[in-house]
């Protein structure tokens, strides 16, 4: 039981269409009955979840300012402030194509699935004020990404952004979500639902660059239909504790999911990823690459599971997690897992945690590159493979720049460089 203001009464007081109000109430009842997660549970192992005190946060009652983070060239941009939708601009071309970017309405009950993977997904269902829908009609290719910018500036606010991406059959769309905040002690718990109908192509990139006192506990659920291709990616840079749980369901024959993420922890950050590649249909492919670096006293956690269900013959599933540990105090955990119930599959997983490669460092130094510069080049280069595979190419330069700013503050750790 959680004694907070996150009660069914509070959930029921949020305006919305009837189906949404009912769903909020039902979720809030579950929240009220649920225990707080604990590090005793495997999915919360290695996390600071025990330090989360929900009573420190309250529901934000309205938007403050909006994001000033530049959006790349786009077909639409939506801004939220403290979880409330502040405005949407949609290009005339996208509007003509029937693309929708708006708050979920009365007729949208069927579009919003219930995501109840953990307490925080339930809280999102109960308290998300204005879930945003991005809907692309069948056969439509959207030119330029649809950008959703989230900004938080209310200290002590609990914010539950929810984004539903509904890509119709044989459609094509890219979505960029940007999370930023002022330096406030906020709690952000987003849910992203991505549905790629048969033969749809969906690119999704989340850039999480919250302030240093923000907590971020989110979920992403992807459902990929037959012959559809989802490229879902993220860059986790900010937050004190920032966690994403990513469930990718390859539910139609021939579905493909590319999951590519990078993270860079410094200071006392904890960055945490739990991934689940669920192969439920034949001839499905998933390709996961997560690369991270931890500096100072930061921590990262990656645990991933590939599950191949009995019917999913012809599955190709890959999972790679590589981590560079940049200081003595930093710490990275990497736990890949496989659960295979069909013999006709190709699966592999690889994980590594280690310091900057000594041979690479020596090679650059022997050319006359000073140690600290060589370290920066190597760490930046380490992430190139991820950046090259990000969808929403227009957003990549800004991610690279933020990453380089973090790398510029690298703690110098190499010792014993002499004969």
């Amino acid at each position: 039981m959680i004694e907070t203001e996150f009660t069914p009464d509070a959930a029921g007081a949020i305006a919305g269409p009837d189906w949404l109000v009912r769903r909020r109430l039902a979720a809030a009842e579950q929240v009220a009955a649920a225990p707080m997660p604990s590090v005793e549970e495997e999915v919360w192992r290695y996390t600071p979840i025990g330090r989360l005190d929900l009573s420190r946060y309250r529901l934000a009652d309205g938007p403050g300012s909006t994001s000033t983070v530049a959006a790349p060239e786009h077909s639409a941009v939506a801004d939220t402030g403290n979880g409330w939708l502040c405005g949407v601009e949609l290009s005339a071309e996208a509007a003509r194509q029937g693309v929708e970017v708006r708050v979920l309405g009365a007729g949208d009950a069927a579009l919003a699935a219930s995501v109840d993977v953990d307490l925080f997904a339930l809280m999102n269902a109960a308290f998300s004020a204005e879930p945003v829908l991005v809907r692309v009609p069948p056969g439509v290719s959207v030119e330029g990404p649809i950008v959703v910018r989230h900004w938080l500036d209310a200290d002590g606010a609990a914010v539950f952004p929810r984004l539903v991406v509904d890509a119709g059959a044989d459609s094509s769309v890219e979505v960029l979500e940007l999370y930023g905040s002022a330096d406030v002690a906020a709690f952000v718990s987003p849910v992203v639902e991505i549905r790629a109908a048969p033969a749809a192509r969906v690119g999704y990139l989340a850039v999480q660059d919250l302030g240093p006192r923000a907590w971020h506990i989110g979920s992403q659920v992807g459902h990929i239909g037959s012959q559809a291709h989802m490229r879902a990616s993220s860059a986790a840079l900010g937050g004190e504790y920032a966690r994403m749980r990513l469930d990718t369901h390859l539910s139609g024959r021939g579905a493909t999911g590319d999951l590519v993420s990078l993270y860079f922890g410094d200071g006392h950050q904890t960055l945490d990823f739990r991934t689940f590649q669920d192969h439920a249909a034949p001839d499905t492919t998933s390709n996961l690459l997560f690369k991270g670096a931890v500096d100072d006293a930061s921590r990262s956690v990656y645990t991933g599971l590939i599950r191949v269900r009995p019917d999913a013959r012809g599955t190709n599933a890959y999972q790679t997690n590589r981590n560079i540990k940049l200081s003595q105090e930093a710490w990275a955990e990497s736990v890949p897992n496989l659960e295979i119930e069909n013999n006709e599959v190709h699966c592999n997983h690889a994980s590594a945690v280690g310091p900057i490669d000594g041979d690479q460092l020596f090679y650059l130094e022997s050319r006359g590159v000073p140690t600290e510069t060589a370290e920066r080049l190597i760490v930046t280069g380490f992430f190139d493979e991820v950046l090259d595979r990000f969808p929403v190419a227009g957003a990549v330069p800004a991610v690279r720049e933020r990453l380089q700013a973090k790398i510029a503050g690298l703690s110098h750790h190499s010792e014993g460089m002499k004969v």
């Binding site: 690479q360 130094e365 590159v369 930046t380 014993g416 002499k418």
Partner: protein, 268 residues
């Protein structure tokens, strides 16, 4: 006029003594070859001169133009005028050749804006495909392309002394000729001094050595002119191996000797 001087160099690697008193002097414009069987300490000599971590100079000196290199980092040694190529150049994903050279030139007080044009000119000289410049350093390059890349680096950085470890390993004949030609050119035009470390005398048919040293058990057993390499071609290393000596280093020379027989060289 520059001179690399190695005197009485003893080097320990992983708790084992590998070099047991090496003496060498390489002056500007000279090409020296150090030849020896596997396990004789050739690569250790190259690494110790460049300052690779883990190659501990227990005693002796390494100096360049009177500057003691032993206490310097690899980067400082490079700035002092030293350059080395590795037998297997290290892949550095996501880091480009030009970036590395710009950082190296800038750190040594040079003009980083001049690097791009120099890289293009040097690539031309050794037939390094310009498209490969935009790849990550040594990633997905053939043996020949890697050594051409290293010749480009040498051309841009203009060291005083270059230590080349098994330059010919993994190279096709054309690449070896192009790279050797560029190095010889540097010895004439820029007065580069070269210490070429090699197992096989094949290299010396394209990179002409003025002085040949034979390294066995971490000690230079003989120094001579180019004829010494010719003699080695006929006899192998046997005449220089002192079978009575107690050596902490395991020598695989008997296995390797067959490669030196005519027609037995797997690299040709």
């Amino acid at each position: 006029m520059s001179e690399l001087v190695v005197e009485g160099l003893h080097v320990r690697v992983g708790g084992q003594m590998v070099l047991n008193g090496v003496d060498l002097r390489v002056a500007s414009g000279e090409v020296h070859a150090v030849m020896g069987p596997n396990g004789s300490g050739k690569s250790t000599l190259a690494y110790a001169i460049m300052g690779r971590p883990g190659y501990e100079a227990v005693s002796g000196t390494i100096s360049l133009d009177g500057i003691d290199l032993v206490e310097l980092s690899p980067c400082e040694r490079a700035h002092a005028g030293l350059f080395s190529t590795l037998q297997y150049p290290t892949e550095v994903p996501g880091v480009g050749l030009e970036t590395v050279l710009e950082e190296a030139v800038a750190a040594a007080g040079g003009d980083r804006t001049a690097v791009e044009a120099q890289v293009v000119a040097e690539a031309e000289l050794v037939g390094f495909d310009l498209d490969l410049l935009y790849r990550s350093l040594n990633v997905d390059l053939s043996g020949g392309e890697m050594k051409r890349s290293e010749a480009v680096q040498l051309g841009v950085l203009r060291p005083r002394i270059a230590v080349l470890d098994e330059l010919d390993s993994g190279l096709d004949v054309d690449a070896l000729a192009a790279v050797s030609h560029r190095i010889e050119q540097a010895t004439h035009q820029d007065n580069l001094g070269v210490l070429a470390i090699t197992h096989f005398s094949r290299l010396l048919t394209v990179l002409h050595a003025d002085v040949v040293h034979i390294l066995i058990d971490g000690v230079i057993r003989e120094t001579g002119g180019p004829d010494l390499a010719a003699q080695l071609e006929e006899t192998g290393y046997d005449p220089w191996i002192d079978t009575r000596a107690e050596s902490p280093v395991e020598i695989h020379s008997h296995l390797e000797l067959s490669h030196l027989e005519p027609g037995g060289d797997p690299w040709l």
